[in-house]
Amino acid sequence: MNIWLVMLAGGLLTFGMRFSLIFLFGRFEVPSTMRKALHYVPPAVLSAIILPELLYPSGSLNLTFENTRMLAGIIAMLVAWYSKNTLLTILAGMAALLILQLLF
């Protein structure tokens, strides 16, 4: 994989989407179904990354208490829910992981 090609393609696509309707003004509108669908992109993509990261720590399912990443992730979710603060969530999750790794 060439990371530079990947970044260039990703950057061009991103620019294209930002430019698209400014450029096409008056000739094209975003369909309402797509408008709706876009709201679900962040939770869908990010959850699809988060869950395997927490539950497959070494490539296979681990739902035991030895899975420190799962436990630290749950703690981070609680902190995120109550604080709605990105930095605090990251710090709490990292601290939880380091402490749990010492314990187990």
Binding site: M7, S47, I50, T89
Partner: protein, 233 residues
Amino acid sequence: MSEKRKEFWNGVRAEFPLLIGVFPFGMIYGALALNAGLSRAASQLMSSIVFAGSSQFVAAQLVHDAAPGFVIVVTIAVVNLRHMLYSASLAPYLKNLSLKWKALLSYLLTDEAYAPSILKYEREEITPVSHWFLLGAGFSLWFTWQVSTAFGIFLGTAIPPEWPLDFALPLTFIAMVVPVLKSRPMIAAALSAGIVALLAYSLPFKLGLILAALTGIVVGTILEGLKSPGGMP
């Protein structure tokens, strides 16, 4: 001070509170991208080539997971789809500009530049210098993002590699997702995507991620449609 300059600085001023929030985020990105295995140059330049925060975090995670290039490109595109909405929403206010201006402002069109600009354009009358506001907001964010990325990369080189810093990426995503899980369709979108990601984990090329994301998007959209058949107001 000329009218153009005044509008530019109005944009910078309106952007300022957002810059304070963005700076630590850029630092985290820089440190994590480096930790995920990107070179210093690639970590830095992604901030100007892609210039879209959450998709950069996702790309770093996928590089860390050794996903193939096309999966990373598709995922960046999906994560950044929402920019089409900003483009549509600002288009009427920028319609009289030259193609060069349209291209420049499009490049600078991030969540954080969009927010104060649309507020201003909806509230105030459009003048021949209004676009300088968006330039001020967009450029100050761009500049802050580049500098904070550099700080993060610098910081990242000082962190011992055995620290489990890679875990900060899923933690960042948790911080982004959890606060938006307020409606049933949102929760269903997140859960269905997460479950499909677990079930399809063994698919080659990280295709499970794309399958899972599409499932979540479709589930959320359908559930929202059931809830309010009339659609968006």
